[in-house]
Symmetry: D2
Subunit: 209 residues, 4 copies
């Protein structure tokens, strides 16, 4: 079986994206005998849906996890819900902007992840990795990807979710604001631990709430 | 010759102090053939002056560096100035509080470090370690220690300064607030790099500004 | 016709709740000939559903608006979505805590407000009242009230939403942290402007997205 | 006798400066029979020293108070100390930048205000105006002005100090970040109360610490 991991390319003023570095580091590794397949998404509203839908249909992963950077956050933040909503003052990498349009015209307003994010947060903290539950993945590409991941994962009775990470230390060192960061090693360890925990607990989670 | 490194014990609600962990990790190491001597200070206004004065007089270090934790800060912050001032709403570990009294009745209002903190910040950032110049070490024990360190270092024509560090990751994982942190390894690397840089540049800095 | 305005009593360490002060100030006023009825809710999970359902059924308001304080926020934040979720590390005023239970076992994961919050934010800012769109009303009593308000408003083909406000200045002056605040006059003006704007635009909004 | 109040013109991306609005509002008013004279300073390192020195020499005010905006701060922050230091990544309104040069080559590293800022903070909070002590006026024009004000005030055995204020609400409404603000009325009331308090307590403060 497969674990599918999505990360993103650099965007806006962020010339490096830790989600890409994390996914590339974990790509090809195995978690409880499941192979991890990493895919880097373009930061373009118009491209990500097809890419995600196609990859999930091809690989039929037991778990699909999106990783995204949330500059300004200080902790790893597993997301509880994706919302059917695109709103961004700044364009994506193709300059595309939205002011409140739906991701899926027929979709629900909000859909919960079927990943036990509350327990996952406790697990990460118990392992010395600062984590906190998030109730908003924003309204930019990360939320968009999360919405598609959960919707598709449900179709294949599999697990789908999204985790936001802070900026990595070496990039925060290039920004002249007191912006929080986390070491890349800690974040890679955190995402690996997350996949292990989710797979270990998968049976209880596969029936959708 | 010696490099004298001061850290602090835990205090208030912080049951671990990264400054202690950093100083203990670097104690006994050598930096450009200088031996590093680490000393952990009590978080008690009434005790630190004698301790710092005695250690500096005994060891005659070429560099005395205080390390302290500044919970809430996201980057390593070398301090520019110590102020002749004690003010804290919360008591020290002996319950002692002050509302604006002087550290040294005869001392100047503020004294600059003779460490090239501006260049040090650039050096740390260039090495991927998030750093930022700080113009206030506060008015609690860290500022108090910094004031004594600079005053004493000047007496022996040596270098004296202070560096604040964020909380370490594993401790931030025990706090249910979105508080920034940094990995202990990165902070230890940062303080070692700082000592190297300061010693390498010591000649230009020994005449006091 | 009626505009129903809900505020909350004080809770946790906040001995004054600006939402109560705002709702009491606007209670009995008229907005575009509609009478404003203010109701102060207890901060108790077990009590608010019945209270909200009963009031909406009795008054059949054209607009139901919940107001809540979000200590730490710097701007008035109209909320986009309520989520079917109760999670709080701290108990409510009856000591009740939840770790992820649903508000409505049969309800959707998330439900959008049918208030034009994007345009409302622009309207407030154009009137010099700092406002910002929020995509998370949290998982405490405010989100819980918002979920019930929207669900019930839909039953009566009326408008339902929620607006978070910062702490009021005079209360922030009693807190020894650099916590943002806003003057009560500005917040009262902001909520009055919001009701006016929503009612003026009500025709387009009554069909649910 | 006179109270001299300095404010600043707009600078960088801030097209309105609340310090200017406050000083202009209080200019010409009387505080305990003392006339308030307001002067708006250019945000130019090379111009402010002469202007401040000349005005203080001409008017011989009993109190000279600088007001400046500190975007991002949430409370009125009376400053404790000015430092003999110019450092700014961004230029002043003439494009001038510094990386650590002294304001006064012969001056002390830091000089305390002789205004009872600790008690002033308590006074403002007791009057419902959020205030907090600040131990750093930064290293841009505000700190530069404060340093000159205190140095000159001492020469004439008068009182000199500096108070930072947040952005005013109507300007924060034009910034798409969750930046704190305060109502202009509250800030004007706060600065008037500050002058009253300082003058009422002036006898004890005129001997310099």
């Amino acid at each position: 079986m497969t674990v599918l991991l999505f990360g993103f390319e650099p965007f806006l003023e962020y010339k490096e994206n830790p989600s890409q570095l994390i996914v590339e580091a974990l790509n090809g590794s195995t978690i409880l005998k499941e192979e991890v397949k990493g895919v880097i998404l373009p930061v373009e509203y118009e491209k990500i849906e097809d890419l995600i839908v196609t990859k999930i249909r091809e690989m039929k992963p037991i778990l699909t996890l999106g990783i995204g950077v949330a500059p300004g956050r200080a902790k790893i933040t597993p997301e509880k819900i994706a919302i059917n909503y695109k709103y961004s003052r700044e364009g994506d990498n193709a300059g595309k902007k939205y002011k409140g349009e739906k991701i899926d015209p027929l979709g629900q307003d909000g859909i919960f992840t079927n990943i036990p994010v509350e327990d996952l947060v406790d697990l990460l903290n118990e392992n010395g990795i600062p984590a906190e539950l998030s109730l908003s993945a924003g309204s930019y590409l990360c939320n968009n990807a999360m919405y598609i991941i959960i919707r598709e994962a449900r179709k294949y009775n599999s697990l789908g979710g999204f985790i936001h990470v802070p900026l990595h230390e070496s990039y925060a060192a290039r920004i002249q604001r007191p912006i929080p960061s986390m070491s890349l090693d800690t974040m890679i360890r955190g995402i690996r631990l997350s996949m292990e925990f989710i797979l270990t607990n998968k049976k209880e989670n596969l029936t959708f709430s």
